[in-house]
C-alpha cells in the first residue's frame, strides 16, 4: 500500500505535490476510489485522496449554481439539491457496480474529471457542459482557478472545461462550480418491445427529431433486458426500447400522446408511470444491466445510424451484448474476456464505421497491457503530450492512467 495523503486544504495539497514534483515521485489521485478499476492502473508511490476536501461552498438555488469541494460525495450533493427541488442536469452514471467498486460513492470532483454523464445528456448536455469553474493544483504545484461562478464567461481560454475528462492527469481539482436545474414536475416512459437493433435505433432517431424533448432514449437487447430488476420488464424475454419525457404534467401527457402517434408503426407502446420511470432510469444510471462479471465491458461512441451496424460487425468476431444509450450514439458492449480484450477487432471495426471506444472493465493485467482509451491520431497525440507537459512537466500526476508513457 502506498503512502496515503488526505489534504484538507488547497495549500496542503500544494505542499504534497511540491514535495513529489521535486523528487519526481508519482502520485495516484483518487476521490473515493470508485473508478479505480477503470482506465490503466497507476503505480503511485503516494496516493492523494480528495475526500477530506469536502463540503458545499456555495449554493444559490435562484441562480441555478452550486460550488463544492472536490471530495464531496455525489450523494450528498444530490440530496442537498433535491431538498430545494433541483438536480444535476446530466444525471452522472455510476460505474461502481459494473466495475466491482462501491455504489453511490463517487465524488463530485471525479465526476467532472472523468466527464461522467448519463441518459439525460441527450437533452441537457454532458457533465462538461455544466462545468462553470474549477480550482485546482497542477503538477507544478501551482494553485490556480479557471472559469468562475457565472453562467456565461469567455474571459480567457476555457480551461475549466478543458480539464473535464482529463482523469487527474493534468491537475488535482479542489473545487468545482456547476450549473443545476429544477426537477421536472413529473416524468413518464414509453416502452416498445421486441424490436431488432436496427428498427429500434431508427425509432430512437425519429423520436429525437421531434420537438418533444426526449430526456432518455435507450435500447436494451433482449439478453440485456432480462437483467433488469423491474419484474414486469425483466420477464418479457424481449428487447426493450424506451423513451423518457420529463416536464410539467400536462406537457408530459400531451407529448406522450404525440410521441406515440408518431411511432405507432413500431408497435404498441407500454407506459411506465412516474414511480416506475424513476426506478427504470435509476437502474440504468447504475448500469445494473451490465453487472460486474469476468467479462469485458466496452464503451463505444458513434453515430446513431452506425451503431447497429457497428455492433453487428463486432459480432462477426465475438459474441457481444449491447445496451444502447444516448439515442444510439453510445454503446455499452459486453464481450467475453480474452487476453487482448478483443482490442484489435473492436478498434478496427470502430475505425471503419467512425467513432471511438474505451475499455471500461477488464482485469488489471489486461488494462495495463492494451490501450484502454481510444488511441490518438498523430497530431492529437502531439497536442496531448504538449498539454500534459504544460500542466505536469515532471509527469507525476496519475502517470500512465490514460496512456502508457504519459
Amino acid at each position: 500500500m502506498s503512502d496515503l495523503q488526505r489534504p484538507a486544504a488547497d495549500w496542503e495539497l500544494q505542499f504534497v505535490i511540491a514535495g513529489c514534483a521535486e523528487r519526481r515521485v508519482p502520485i495516484e489521485i483518487i476521490g473515493s476510489g470508485s473508478k479505480r478499476a477503470i482506465g490503466r492502473p497507476v503505480d503511485g508511490t503516494v496516493t492523494v485522496t480528495t475526500t477530506s476536501l469536502r463540503g458545499i461552498s456555495l449554493y444559490e438555488p435562484n441562480e441555478l449554481v452550486m460550488s463544492a469541494r472536490a471530495g464531496t460525495t455525489l450523494s450528498h450533493i444530490e440530496a442537498e439539491l433535491a431538498a430545494r427541488g433541483q438536480m444535476l442536469p446530466f444525471e452522472p452514471i455510476d460505474l461502481g457496480p459494473a466495475t466491482g467498486g462501491p455504489q453511490g460513492a463517487q465524488t463530485i470532483g471525479a465526476v467532472f474529471a472523468t466527464n461522467m454523464s448519463g441518459a439525460r445528456r441527450i437533452l441537457h448536455g454532458a457533465a462538461r457542459d455544466h462545468l462553470l469553474g474549477v480550482r485546482g493544483v497542477n503538477g507544478r504545484a501551482e494553485m490556480f482557478q479557471a472559469g468562475g461562478r457565472v453562467m456565461k464567461n469567455v474571459t480567457g481560454y476555457d480551461v475549466a472545461r478543458g480539464l473535464s475528462g482529463s482523469w487527474g492527469t493534468l491537475a488535482v481539482l479542489t473545487e468545482v462550480t456547476f450549473k443545476v436545474i429544477p426537477w421536472p414536475e413529473t416524468a413518464a416512459t414509453i416502452v416498445f418491445l421486441g424490436l431488432p437493433d436496427n428498427l429500434a435505433l431508427e425509432l430512437l432517431s425519429v423520436a429525437m427529431a421531434l420537438p418533444v424533448e426526449v430526456s432518455g432514449a435507450v435500447h436494451l437487447q433482449a439478453s440485456v433486458a432480462e437483467r433488469l430488476n423491474h419484474p414486469g420488464l425483466r420477464s418479457l424475454n424481449k428487447s426493450i426500447t424506451a423513451l423518457r419525457l420529463e416536464n410539467f404534467s400536462s406537457a408530459v401527457s400531451g407529448r406522450k400522446h404525440r410521441l406515440k402517434e408518431a411511432l405507432k408503426v413500431y408497435g404498441k407502446a407500454l407506459e411506465l408511470d412516474h414511480r416506475e420511470t424513476l426506478e427504470f432510469w435509476g437502474e440504468l444510471r447504475r448500469l445494473s444491466v451490465m453487472p460486474n462479471r469476468p467479462t469485458l465491458l466496452w464503451r463505444i461512441s458513434t453515430k446513431p445510424t452506425t451503431a447497429p451496424k457497428l455492433v453487428a460487425a463486432i459480432k462477426r468476431y465475438m459474441p457481444a451484448e449491447a445496451f444502447y444509450d444516448w439515442g444510439g450514439s453510445l454503446i455499452w458492449l459486453e464481450v467475453p474476456a480474452t487476453a487482448d480484450a478483443g482490442t484489435a477487432e473492436i478498434r478496427r471495426v470502430t475505425a471503419i464505421h467512425g467513432g471511438h471506444a474505451m475499455l471500461i472493465r477488464a482485469e488489471p493485467s489486461v488494462r495495463a497491457s492494451v490501450e484502454v482509451f481510444q488511441p490518438l491520431s498523430p497530431p492529437l497525440e502531439r497536442l496531448t503530450r504538449g498539454l500534459k507537459a504544460a500542466f505536469d512537466p515532471a509527469g507525476i500526476l496519475n502517470p500512465g492512467r490514460m496512456y502508457a508513457n504519459l
Binding site: G125, V150, M151, G156, P379
Partner: protein, 488 residues
Amino acid sequence: MTLSRMPEPDQAVLDRSSAIIKDLEALIGVDGVISEEEGRRAFEADALTAYRQAPMVVVLPRSTEDVSKVLKYCHRNGLKVVPRGAGTSLCGGALPMADSIVIGMSRMNRVLDADFVNRTITVESGITNLAITDAVSAEGFFYAPDPSSQLACTVGGNLAMNSGGAHCLKYGVTTNNVLGVKMVLIDGEIVDVGGAYPDAEGYDFLALIVGSEGQFGIVTEATLRILPRAESARPVMLGFSSCEAAGQCVAAIIGSGIIPVAIEYMDRPAIAVCEAYAKAGYPLDVEALLIVEVEGYEEETTRLLRDIVDIARSFDPKVVEASTSPEHSARIWKGRKAAFGAMGRISDYYCMDGTIPLGRLPEVLSRIAQICAEHRLKVANVFHAGDGNLHPLILYNANDADEARRAELAGAEILRLCVSVGGCLTGEHGVGIEKRDLMDVQYTPSDLAVQMRIKSVFDPNWQLNPGKVFPLSALEASRASAAADQAA
C-alpha cells in the same frame, strides 16, 4: 481613446513584404491574395472601430489545403497571422497588425453535409451563423446559438469567441453545440478534433479550441448539433417601475423551476431608443422592460406564460403584454434585436459585456448608473438577464477625445465592478485587444500562466493573433519562465 499598445511591427518583415506577397500568390493563386492598399483597408478594423490598422496582406483561401499551405509558409518564415471571419468582433479580436497576414475565411462558406437523422450539420467555417439555420429549417431544425449579429458573423468567429445569443439561456452557447472541428495548426498540420459522435477521445481539446480567439489554429470546418424546432415560441413583455423589481422578477422566474428560452432586459434609455427606431410598441413610462420567451406546443406556451405572469404579479408590473400571434411576437422582438443598431444611430457607444451573479443585479445596475454619472456620461442597458450577461452601452462622442477617454475609464470601472461581485470581464464578446490589460483583475499570475502555456502548446512562437487576450507584461513574464523551464 488611450489605446492598448500593439506589439511593434517587425521592420525586417515589412521590408520583405513584396517578396512575401509574391510567394503567397504562387501558393494559392493571384485571385486569393489582396495586397493593394485600398483592398487591405477593408480589413483594417472589426466592430471595435476605435482600433484600426491595415494588414500587410490579406489571403482568402478556398480550401483547408490552401490554409495549410499558407500557415506552413508563415510558420517557416516567422510571420504573424490574424484569422478573420466577418469582422464583427466587438473586442478587436480580428484587428490586424501592420506586419501581419490576415486569413479571411469568407470564401469557405459551404454546407458540406446536413445529417437530419443524426441531427448534425458539417459546414465550412466561413459560413454565416444564420445560413446554418437556413440550411436546416425546411426540415424543422435550427442551430441554437443566435448572436444578434447572426446575419453577418461566421461560425469560425463564433467558435473563436464562444459566442452566445438571446436563446442561450436554454440551449447553451457555442461550446455546448459543437461536436467537432477540422483545424489547421500553425505548422500547417491538419487536425480533426471530435466528430459527429459524443465526447472527446482523450483530452477535451474542443473545449480549449472554442473560445481561443483565433490563437490556437485556423478552424476550417465544424460539425454542429442541430435541434428540432419547437412548434411555437411566444414572448411576454413585462414592464416595471424599478430595476430592482425587474431583477427580482427574473430571479423568481428562474427559481420557480421554469427555464424560459430567453429573458432579455432593457432599461428606460434603451427602451426609448429602440421604440423610436423599431416602433415595437414598448411602454415608455417604465424603468425596466423584460421580454421573456417560452416555447413548446401551443397549449404549453399558454400555460407557461400564465405561470410567468402570475410570478410577475408579485412585483407589481406596470405593463403585462403577452404575444397573441406570430406577428405580435415578431414585433416584440424587433426592438430588442435592433437595439445595438438603433443605439448606434443616435450616438457612438462603448459596449461592455461583463457577467454577474443574478442576485447582484439591482445593486450592480445602480452602481453602473453612478459610475457613468461620475464620468458625466449617459448609459443604456440592454442585456441577457437570465444569465446575468450585462451589456451597458456607454454613450459618448468619438470626436471628443476627452469624452472618449472618460468612456473608457467608466468601462474599465464597470468591468472591475463585475469581477468584484463574483462575475467576469466578458460573457460572450471575448477579450481581444480591448480587455487584454484587465485580465489581471480577474486572474492571478499563475492562472494566467496556466492559460498561456496552453497557447504555447498550439503555437509555440505565438504567431497566431498575437498581442491579444493577455497583458503584454504577463506575456513577457511567461517567456522568461518558459526559458527557465527549458534550462531546467
